[in-house]
Symmetry: C2
Subunit: 568 residues, 2 copies
């Protein structure tokens, strides 16, 4: 493509409202343009990069056995009422009325539409399983759109849906999708992790998020430094062998700790490690109070408490309620000498504590030399704390590190949530009807573009991985008015295109400084400069990523470029 | 693709609400599925056919020098208020509010968005001209969606926009687009015409519609049987040499014609040809009455009257007004002995009439032997009638025929309509600002798919042209439980794919009758059947279009198929 014929409106100034690198650079490099809050135009360079991502997605979806279709953005309200999401999705669902005052949703996802299509079109077990996908513009009315393409209101997604007669079949496709997603993000050049996630309110089972590691990510991931283990920190199991101290038991003693309430205060005041203090809280579990204990250097994870007690609801008791139960304030709660009606759940780490410190249910007092099992009885020991950096990885391989991540993909075993709500059923070999067992699998395509931009840039601009780059080569005649330069550039443009390189030819009459600055900013992998040595048949090749430059004789250019792209 | 892994929900029954072939067949062959009135899902076969059309469009757009981008569907109301279309577009514009109660349009076209982008991004004449296009889902709230994909409310369009500093530059790109459109519809295999069209209210200049010839089309086209001339009948110029009769002038005579009012009645009663009767009407042109004459066998075109008189408005006088002016009713109007204040405009054909018949401005009477110029004076002779079948083509080549057409493309010189309304300006070499001169160029991509289906089918189903067909070859093992058949089919599936054929393998356990019926219905160009002679290495090749069948030895299959596709 000749640069004179396309639209790359680069900006010299930093856009004032763009907080993060990818947003700033995609704007400055003329890839995108905002039309409304969270709504962007993809200008020609972004369109080409999106095409490359979509092509990778299509190839991997095909390998995974999925067939492509295209569903409408306009979805009649009735379908969403059938699934119930019309009432639960809230303000994020964009809604409208047509000229006959019928209600429609602008699709944020397409479970309802695809379930209705498959329900009509695949009535029998004979045609199952089936996996269908689309790449499509979606709508979600985010409360606070931000970070450019990372959290927009109109965005491009790949969404896939699978339909099964058995859990095993769903497991099989889920695994294929896991592999496809791994391939896709690897081919995009991204540093990412597949992360165990919370299946949340939607009622499904297994679910994993694909997270691109980035400090601007909104989620915290716990991952192993020596294996593929990764999970959202809410989800990460703690799998520690807590060694019991060899210390001898000492006598339980009540000490004055006037005004000392927090773990840090007590630790300072009594000169003990936080890891030797028992943090005690009262929670209301399905309307019954329960005392919950974790080690002073650990954080309680209330989701784990809920799961460990198989409870429907858990919440923290307020200070009045606590006072009523224990006759003390928050900072002085402890498990010793409790009323027998108050059960105790404790994190596994507590079991190994020896001669520890805890609140005495008496303001301004603590116990020291507390021994679990001797001084109080625990109903349930369970994993109820957040994992921490330095913990062993739950899979037994390596040590846990934390990172922040941008969610670019999500695979999800839906089960029968939608098919039951919508009465979508197939007939088995005996003519009996069952709800389809379903999976769904999403990739944020435009978000992936932003994630790549976020991961690959330097102070001069973007640095596109070769698989995503809008063009392979940026070919720059320094001076378009120099006949030798122009002629050689035109010749190379045609020759390189003939060898299947995608070439952007900067045929603009601009100063060399402007051309080079723009070139670094838009970030094609390789720049070929046709300058003063054009008459001698010499050009300059620069690798954007490393900054490495070399002069190359024209007759060797193809070989040099082929080698560079082999290694990039 | 294995048929077991994709979704082709064929129907045996004719869908009750589908009136036309393409709509019926696309539904029955499992290409599309309606989700709401005028809103369709494109199932896997349709998606593949759309991809093929889009690929052709992209290649031709690239050749024409256009760069691809992707604009948002959500467009802030403010942009549409700037252009004025927010107020004039009416109910067909789909509108919505976001969670903050800001108004948006769902884009039916993108003149506003692209003008705003180019206005910001291309401030100088140096970067002009530029042509940008996208392929995108559009929304238009049709009052009566019908004919399936032909008139839907959510549809796929290619829309291109060009920006210029001069009319000559616009002319140049308009011509390039004309050529690109001709190439696109030719490559789609369509029988079409580029038709001169009315630029209508939008205020542009030249405009042509690309019409696929089809009896279900909503527009009538006048085209030459021996040249590329074609126009909407409203637009077609009449370019006849009317020969003056050699007959001698006879004496003007008033005759009684009791109760004879219409041309047919008078023609019968007086035994004269309709072509020798003058049809007379009174029109109100810019508030002044004018008498309008055409030959009795011709139809008046009021748009031509308006253009010929350079009028702002023309309408027919009602009977009361006519009576007041001429003291007679509609059927007796004539140009002889008029009040001098009443000017006459006549079609050119009238000038050559001799000894004709006309009304006598006296009920139940007509004049015979009327001679224009002798018996009445005409202020203006002009082309004011509709062209007719049998007329010479206005370009002097061949004879006019009529056809009905489906509009699939439209190219349009917009001029400065949008840029002026939106104050979108560039700076010229002297730093002076001017509104961009614009063109716009649309193709109904999903409509083109339907038009192809409408043109290519028979009583058994669809017959896809090779360039559009979802798959080249439908490979059918007759009995999947026969090991020899299954094995050979699998082998051929892989071999043919290896030779770049797109193959659909019917690996379903269905009866042969079902497989063959489905195969004819979905209409891939070539069917390869692996049947009883599989063990002998013989398969059957059938060409869908001609029904031609032949037995082919497996080792010759590739050559046979290659030759067939060369000729299809």
């Amino acid at each position: 493509m000749r640069q004179s014929m396309t639209l790359i409106p680069t900006l010299r100034e930093l856009p004032s409202d763009a907080e993060i690198k990818s947003h700033q650079l995609l704007l400055r490099a003329g890839f995108i343009k905002q039309i409304a809050s969270g709504v962007y135009s993809y200008l020609p360079l972004a369109k080409k990069a999106l095409d490359n991502i979509e092509q990778i997605v299509r190839e991997e979806m095909e390998k995974a056995g999925a067939a492509e279709l295209l569903l409408p953005a306009l979805q009649p309200a009735e379908l969403w009422q059938d699934s119930g999401r019309w009432y639960t999705y809230g303000d994020e669902l964009m809604r409208m009325h047509d000229r006959h005052d019928r209600s429609f949703a602008l699709g944020p996802t397409h479970e309802e539409v695809i379930t209705s299509i498959v329900s009509d079109g695949v009535p029998s077990y004979k045609r199952l399983p089936i996996t269908l996908y689309q790449i499509q513009t979606k709508f979600r009315d985010e409360k606070r759109p931000r970070f450019g393409l990372l959290r927009g209101r109109e965005f491009i997604m790949k969404d896939a849906y699978s339909f099964h007669t058995s859990e095993e079949s769903l497991d099989d496709v889920y695994l294929k999708m896991y592999q496809a997603y791994t391939n896709i993000f690897t081919r995009c050049g991204l540093d990412f992790r597949a992360v165990l996630a919370d299946s949340g309110a939607i009622g499904g089972k297994d679910t994993q998020e694909f997270m691109v590691l980035s400090e601007i990510g909104e989620d915290t991931i716990a991952y192993s430094d020596s294996s593929s283990y990764a999970a959202n920190i809410e989800m990460a199991e703690v799998n520690c062998d807590y060694e019991k101290s060899a210390e001898l038991e000492k006598e339980l003693t009540k000490v004055d700790t006037p005004g000392q309430k927090t773990i840090a205060e007590v630790s300072d005041f009594l000169d003990v490690q936080a890891s030797n203090i028992i943090k005690s809280l009262v929670m209301i579990v399905d309307e019954e109070p329960v005392m919950v204990l974790v080690r002073g250097d650990h954080e309680l994870n209330d989701i784990k408490v809920k799961n460990a007690l198989d409870a429907d609801s858990v919440e923290f008791a307020d200070e009045d309620h606590t006072k009523e139960l224990l006759n003390c304030s928050f900072g002085s709660i402890g498990p010793v000498n409790l009323p027998s009606s108050l059960k105790i759940i404790a994190d596994k780490a507590v079991e190994s504590m020896m001669n520890a410190v805890c609140g005495a249910n008496d303001d301004d007092c603590h116990y020291v030399n507390v021994v679990p099992g001797r001084d109080f009885q625990v109903e349930t020991y369970a994993d109820i704390r957040f994992i921490q950096e330095g913990d062993p990885s739950p899979d037994g391989k390596g040590t846990i590190r934390f990172a922040r991540g941008i969610e670019v993909g999500h695979i999800f075993k839906l089960g029968t949530t939608y098919s039951e709500a919508m009465s979508a059923k197939y007939l088995d070999e005996n003519g009996k009807s069952h709800p389809y067992i379903m999976g769904c699998y999403g990739i944020g395509v435009s978000r992936t573009l932003a994630a790549v931009a976020e991961q690959f840039n330097d102070e001069n601009g973007l640095i596109w991985p070769t698989n995503i780059a809008p063009y392979d080569i940026h070919l720059i005649p320094v001076n378009m008015k120099d006949a030798a330069q122009e002629e050689l550039a035109e010749r190379l443009y045609n020759e390189l295109k003939g060898h299947r390189f995608n070439v952007l030819l900067d045929d603009r009459n601009e100063r060399p400084g402007v051309k080079f600055k723009d070139s670094d900013l838009i970030g094609m992998p390789v720049r070929v400069t046709v300058g003063k040595k054009a008459a001698e048949g010499i050009v300059e090749v620069k690798i954007r990523k490393t900054g490495e430059m070399q002069e190359v004789k024209v007759e060797q250019l193809l070989d040099v470029l082929t080698n560079i792209f082999k290694e990039l």
